[in-house]
């Protein structure tokens, strides 16, 4: 029975794919003139390096006919661009915790979910907040809490799903500590291992306050020194205590360096300056691709998770807006999903992505099974040899153990002041 449904979905998706390839005009019923005009359209997208990848833009040109210009920025710069230069982009590829800060500024327009063909197949994590009906919602800025607004012109986040998305979810993952298994010399099982004196001068934490504070909170909770009501929304006292602890560790010489961009974390790890640190999954893959052992270590307390999506700039209208919706529908139709899944991220619509992946790839990345074939990155470079198992296991095992989401706190201003204190200490 289940397999029949899957097959039907598969056929449907395949048909959609063919439709797109045949020309968007045929699929959406727009007049031919539209199909010609669309070739002249350029959509400007900015975002962080995770999804700002050129092969996606090239595929857009091939499948949809229009041009997608991508600008890649670091997390902070992306937030700034979204907020301060709303006319410089058409599509914002940003994280949900940034949306919490940016959407109320009125620079994005709500997205009509009725225009999204695969809306009902989006992972429920982004709709209800629950991965499975009985999961517990993690702390922090969970995407579904800032995923909807109350209406077409509303700037107010809706308490429950509406027909108006702030962003369409596209990419997410569960982050944890990266380690050099050859150098740590013992099993790493908990967040508090980051501050184990055994790794003095060889640990690192990321210096992006809104994310770093969460890693710090995971460590403090793991140490048992602080019990948070909500790590993603700390009180001033909790912030004081967390930063106090961090300063203590820093003064004791625990940290070798703090990193701010993806490549810094890769360099710290490959050079052996650092052997345990906060890390992002592609950074782990990058270290491994240099032939250096690096594990994305699952930890007892769970993961710190993040999610990103595409938002529509307020100024988009007419043909460009149509093209943007077309692009978003294409984004969820499977090719990009498979592309992202193959790099260790997760796509928002799993069913469609599955159609674009080999069964062995799907089993490795999503089901946590040993690789039946050599696993390659989208560009063809070898990522994992046959027989390897993904760190942390299957999709449900990883995303099911999210302890908190990247977040923006009510006491954000205060937290940053304190974070600056930690860096200056």
């Amino acid at each position: 029975m289940t397999s029949a449904i899957t097959r039907r979905r598969a056929l449907k998706s395949a048909a959609a794919g063919i439709g797109l390839a045949a020309g968007s005009g045929a699929l959406t019923g727009f007049p031919t003139i539209w199909a010609q005009n669309i070739k002249n359209i350029t959509l400007r997208q900015f975002g962080t390096g995770v999804s700002g990848q050129n092969p996606i833009a090239a595929k857009v040109k091939q499948d949809l006919g229009f041009t997608l210009n991508m600008t890649v920025l670091d997390t902070d710069a992306a937030a700034q661009r979204a907020r301060t230069q709303p006319n410089s982009y058409d599509i914002a590829d940003i994280e949900y915790f940034i949306v919490k800060k940016v959407f109320p500024a009125g620079v994005l327009q709500p997205m009509d979910t009725r225009k999204l063909k695969n809306f009902d197949k989006i992972v429920p994590l982004f709709i209800t907040g629950k991965l499975t009906p009985d999961s517990v919602i993690a702390q922090g800025t969970a995407p579904h809490t800032v995923g909807f607004v109350e209406g077409k012109d509303s700037l107010k986040f809706a308490k429950k799903p509406t027909e108006w998305f702030t962003m369409v979810p596209t990419i997410y993952n569960a982050d944890t500590l990266g380690i050099r298994p050859d150098l740590v010399g013992r099993p790493i099982t908990q967040w508090k291992d980051l501050v184990d004196p055994a790794f003095k001068g060889k640990a690192s934490i990321l210096n992006i306050p809104s994310i770093g504070i969460m890693d710090a909170a995971m460590v403090c909770e793991s140490l048992g020194v602080i019990k948070y009501a909500d790590k993603g929304n700390m009180t001033k006292a909790e912030i004081d205590k967390t930063i106090g602890k961090l300063i203590e560790f820093k003064k004791a010489g625990q940290f070798r360096a703090f990193w701010k961009s993806f490549d810094e974390s890769v360099n710290l790890m490959t050079s052996g300056e650092v052997i345990i640190q906060s890390m992002w999954s592609p950074a782990v893959a990058a270290v491994r691709s240099k032939g250096i052992a690096c594990t994305y270590q699952p930890l007892k307390e769970g993961y710190r998770s993040w999610g990103g999506g595409l938002g529509l700039a307020k100024h988009l209208k007419g043909l460009e807006l149509d093209a943007a919706y077309e692009y978003i529908n294409w984004y969820l139709s499977g090719w990009v999903g498979a592309y992202l899944n193959r790099q260790g991220y997760y796509s928002a619509v799993l069913d469609t992505a599955k159609q674009f992946m080999k069964p062995e790839e799907w089993a490795f990345w999503m089901e946590g099974k040993p690789a039946a074939i050599d696993i390659t990155a989208p560009d063809g470079t070898l990522m994992e040899k046959k027989g390897a198992v993904r760190d942390g296991g299957s999709f449900y095992e990883r995303m099911g153990h999210v302890a908190c989401w990247n977040s923006v706190m009510d006491e954000d201003k205060y937290m940053v002041q304190k974070w600056n204190e930690f860096i200056a200490a």
Binding site: D76, G201, A257
Partner: protein, 294 residues
């Protein structure tokens, strides 16, 4: 009134007005690209803000919050420490190099060749020159490997990289040329007969240096000092890269605030820094009259 008188009067008024006209483009450029942005920063520094953006009310919180915080004072102290240390090092290196070029190298051709040589590293980007220190100084870097291989150390030196040492080293490397150029320039203008006269009067090497060359090089030293001090005070990239993000500077503090969209705080920090640096420059100009140079 004769026609000639009339045209004379017009010529005079035009002549009086001409300098202003000539200065107009500069005024316009400075106005648009310097004065207006600074005025905007001043304005923003007095605004309140929340998640959704700036709130247009006049508040002093941004200044009160930071002037009242121990972190700011500590960070300023730290940054000024860097500035003083880097200044002392670049000055001694820069002065020596300039002295060598100006007084030891005899032919003008070689002076120019060697001077250009000093500038060659500056054809690459600042960041590249800085980053190349990282594989040199790292735990498993070239220097540690060499020292370990020669048996000088048995454990890698950790303080070489991601430390205040690394920061100062990079600053000195990056900014010494800013000292060399103006000092060399003033030294080249020193009338050689003054030195001969001093020698004839019985002055030794140190007397000549102390009583003739240093006083006459002061304008160059002052200009170099202004360059180095302002560059170090405002820096955030070097401190971040070489300090491994563990060290703070005023610029880094500001960049953190900007990163978190706390523009009014960053603007207030910028104003405090601007005023501090202007005071430092004013102090330097009080000691040395650099107009002599110009």
């Amino acid at each position: 009134m004769s026609p000639s008188q009339n045209s004379d009067a017009r010529r005079i008024s035009l002549r009086a007005f001409a300098p202003h006209l000539l200065a107009l483009p500069l005024w316009a450029v400075l106005g648009v690209f310097l004065a207006v942005p600074i005025l905007m920063i001043v304005m923003v520094s007095f605004l309140d803000y929340d998640d959704a953006g700036l709130i247009y009310t006049f508040v002093l919180d941004n200044y009160r919050d930071q002037l009242g915080s121990a972190v700011l004072w500590r960070t300023y102290f730290h940054t000024i420490q860097f500035a003083v240390l880097v200044w002392a090092l670049t000055l001694s290196i820069g002065f020596t190099v300039a002295y060598f070029l100006a007084f030891h190298v005899r032919t003008q051709l070689w002076q120019m060749v060697l001077f250009q040589l000093c500038a060659i590293p500056f054809l690459t980007s600042n960041i590249i020159r800085m980053i190349s220190w990282i594989p040199t100084l790292g735990r498993n870097g070239l220097l540690n490997q060499a020292l370990a291989a020669s048996g000088v150390i048995d454990k890698p030196l950790e303080w070489l990289l991601f430390s205040d040492f690394a920061i100062v080293l990079a600053f000195v490397h990056l900014y010494t040329l800013f000292m060399v150029v103006p000092i060399f320039n003033t030294m080249m203008r020193i009338d050689r007969s003054l030195i001969e006269a001093a020698r004839d009067a019985g002055a030794g090497f140190w007397d000549v240096l102390r009583n003739v060359i240093i006083p006459l090089s002061l304008p160059g030293i002052a200009i170099g000092t202004i360059f180095v001090v302002t560059l170090v005070m405002g820096d955030f990239v070097t401190v971040r890269m070489m300090g491994g993000g563990q060290s703070a500077s005023v610029g880094l503090m500001m960049s953190n605030s900007i990163g978190l969209l706390q523009y009014p705080t960053a603007a207030a920090q910028a104003m405090v820094l601007l005023i501090t640096v202007l005071l430092m420059v004013a102090a330097i100009l009080r000691v040395v009259d650099i107009r002599k140079e110009l």
